[in-house]
Symmetry: D2
Subunit: 289 residues, 4 copies
């Protein structure tokens, strides 16, 4: 588990068809430039014949700059047909948060950002309600109110898209944003648009999961953070968790108790995403914890 | 949490329409016969206007016998239209276990029974395979092999039914018994036929839940113990639990890891059932833990 | 689990020597005044021969006022030598929060108070540091800075005591307040002064528990909320929880990960306390969840 | 998570002073012999300047035998002063189990061994009581009764040592064996002698941990599996877990509930050990899960 206050590192993330010699070539490349590994994981999906790797390298140990790294590593990458990125720990992603009326996930993310637990910038928060403006602005973050109605939906999302573009968002987080995202935005931010669903998916897909959980009499309720795709609640799962409930819990109790799980799961998922721990392939996520 | 090795107790379980004075009348009745409560819980479903109560009474403290209790308490029960039972802790239920090829749930239940953790008798085990005979017989329990095929299903279940009847089963447990139970048996043993489903219901209903969990890329897998109804995997849930998995787990890993959750959930559910902690109403269970 | 947004209720909490007929008398009293139970639990410590009871009664159902209840119930209480309280759900306790430099527990409690999850008023926050003033004041709560040094400790605590008295605090919460509380304050607020210790007590008593946990190589870290007594970290435990860690976690990681457990455990403990779910006897807590 | 039923693999485990190029050299060696990684983890303890690595290699992919691997890899090992082993997945360790009167851990390990969940042979079980003989022998495993009294302790342990030697034990597991192991045996089996302690260490060191937990009023109880050293309950921790308890649990309830945690923790620890996932250094374990 990396700590954002630690020394500068480069995070090299790779996925490619499985082959003999990948680790050897990658580690040889790093060693030849005096790089020292802080953390390293790789995983081979034998059935899918696909290789996944995440390396954290001490930046100070390397004899080359990140630009030189990017340029020179391309030869290794080409050899194995790699999908790859390298990012310095001080290159903070820009994360735009979308919220509706509920405050718990937003408050939790803002608190963690404020106390340097999340390695990102938050250029703005967009909401279809006004009620969270003061909380956001206290953190020194611009708040944009973009109301969404049945009638104005296309214009509203056009406006939202402009805000997101203007702030050069790398990642967009739906912090209990209760509107369905248009397909274009899903595609544009594929693998960079994170949602929190208030159930343990695939249980209780769609609206009112706590009502459904109450009616079914389940003994655990949960939350799921996933990348958003055009298929509602069907995107690749990043993180999930549950808590125990019992017969004495009203639907309102489930809602209240679920808030803590939702906040915890979303912040963990965003943290993994920001630390480049997540590699999406098809409808599944490899998460190097 | 009761302990089966403790002093003799009577367990009085009540459910009825909610009304003022139920607790007062019940506790007055117990106090008038010098009864001392070891444990007591009640719960009112305000929305459903229904009252649930479980009382454990020290048998030695009572000035009347359980037969007298049964006779005299009927007046209280009639007044509030109670559905009620009273059972002495030394009246052991007869539990018939049904198993197929997989051994983990059966082995776990047999071990717990053997070490006096389950307050029941096990008059026999019935299986559609022969492979677990030796394990069952080592415990001194008769083993009946009733093969089930597409062709012989009605006769096989007739035979099974005869075995269950002959042993005067109070409760039947499907310890990973992989055959669909005929509606007649579901009805006959309504609220007394316990299954373990190898997923966190309502996720992954039906066959091959681990395969489905693997494909969906969930981060937790679970198990659910429920009373069997005619609607497959839709009966009232007694207990559920989950464990964490990750991308590196093959489907075989999920199967292996899931075994521990299945065994744990089933044995807890059966324990709650045997200790008269479960009250079914509609499709939900009140479980006084 | 009660919900603070529900209808007005009275919470009647009782502990007394065990005897036959307590439940009968209590429930008869409630029934005679048409009271309807929303929730009720009792527990007998057989070894200690002590009886504990918590009843939540629908206020609207009762034919008497809370003052009349207090007056008339005394006869029942006297008969069984009860220690007892009855409180209306709209009588909010006044809770003074003490903090030092760390923000996580304070931020969590303020957020929950702000979103009506905690049934209390927070008349002020006192800290020996200035850094959290803005966060507290944003919530509209007065912030008092009372620096504590080796030299000024008696005067500082005199000042703090005056602040606490002036605000008529019912309960004081140490939200990671890093000063040892003087014995007088411990005694004055016995059973009303709540601390969060950043370890799973009794492991790692005293200072630097995360350093000790790191050195011992434990696989789980935890937090403990307890009532403060004169014996440091030895008071009655209200709530505890843990999370999994591993060899790759630095001491700094443990500190970061521990924050979430500390916040969660403290807020749960305070919630139980405010909902009159906790009864202290000797060095142990009965917690009716 | 490996699965013991999978294809033959070699597990290469390394620890050595940290240096640049270790991963490169190791992976180059494997690649040069056409080896394909099934799983690989490494971790650098930056503070301790020590490197840890575990590699699982598909045996069929390698162009050399394990003997040739051992011979040729020595040059790499020498260069970095490695402590290292390589073991084929079909080289099963011989594990001798020691038990006393309690059956739960032994029954659990025997069941898992019987169902091929533990990749080991169990040449015999030794106990200072007779009561578990039948259970052990049903599994086809020899049972040795070695009574231990205050008077005969040295002779008893001499006899036990002979049994362990005669069976060429690689690992010895104390499955709730309630005798203190003599220092010579601790030293001889350093890193290969596994105990289960029935508390969440370092809480409740020594005898009667459940009694102590009951008296302290903790809200979670746990179990700890560790390598045995001469300092009682102070050895390197392999695995720990906890479960929730409450005020209503008697000491007997804690004992009963604790059994499940003890069994689960011990079997996980042994599994990690047998899969070469554990590297001990000083008083801590790196566990590659």
């Amino acid at each position: 588990m990396s700590d954002t206050e630690q020394a500068k590192t480069y995070c090299l993330v790779i996925s490619c068809p499985d082959a003999v010699g990948i680790v050897a070539e990658v580690s040889k490349f790093v060693a030849e430039h005096d790089g020292s590994f802080v953390e390293s994981n790789h995983y081979t999906d034998v059935q899918g014949a696909w290789f996944y790797m995440r390396n954290v390298i001490n930046a100070d140990s390397l004899s080359i700059s990140i630009e030189e790294f990017r340029e020179q590593f391309q030869a290794v990458a080409d050899k194995f047909e790699m999908i790859w990125t390298v990012r310095a720990s001080n290159e903070k992603q820009k994360v735009v948060l979308l919220a509706s009326h509920a405050s718990h996930c937003l408050a939790d993310l803002l608190y963690r950002w404020h106390s340097n637990e999340l390695n990102c910038d938050i250029p703005c928060v967009v909401s279809n309600h006004e009620n969270l403006r003061s909380m956001v602005e206290w953190h020194g973050i611009p708040f944009h109110h973009v109301p969404v109605t049945k009638e104005n939906k296309p214009e509203a999302f056009k406006q939202m898209n402009e805000i997101i573009e203007r702030h050069n968002a790398d990642t967009v987080v739906l912090a209990r944003y209760m509107q369905i995202i248009p397909p274009e935005l899903c595609q544009k931010f594929a693998g960079r648009l994170i949602n929190i669903h208030h159930s343990f998916l695939p249980s209780f897909i769609g609206a009112n999961p706590y009502q459904k959980a109450y009616e079914r009499g389940v003994k655990l309720i949960g939350a799921t953070s996933h990348y958003v795709t055009e298929d509602l609640d069907e995107g690749p799962i990043i993180e999930q968790d549950v808590i125990r409930v019992n017969h004495s819990c009203s639907k309102e109790d489930l809602v209240r108790m679920g808030k803590d799980v939702e906040s915890a799961v979303l912040s963990r998922a965003l943290r993994y995403h920001l630390d480049d721990r997540v590699i999406v392939r098809g409808n599944k996520c490899v998460v190097f914890q």
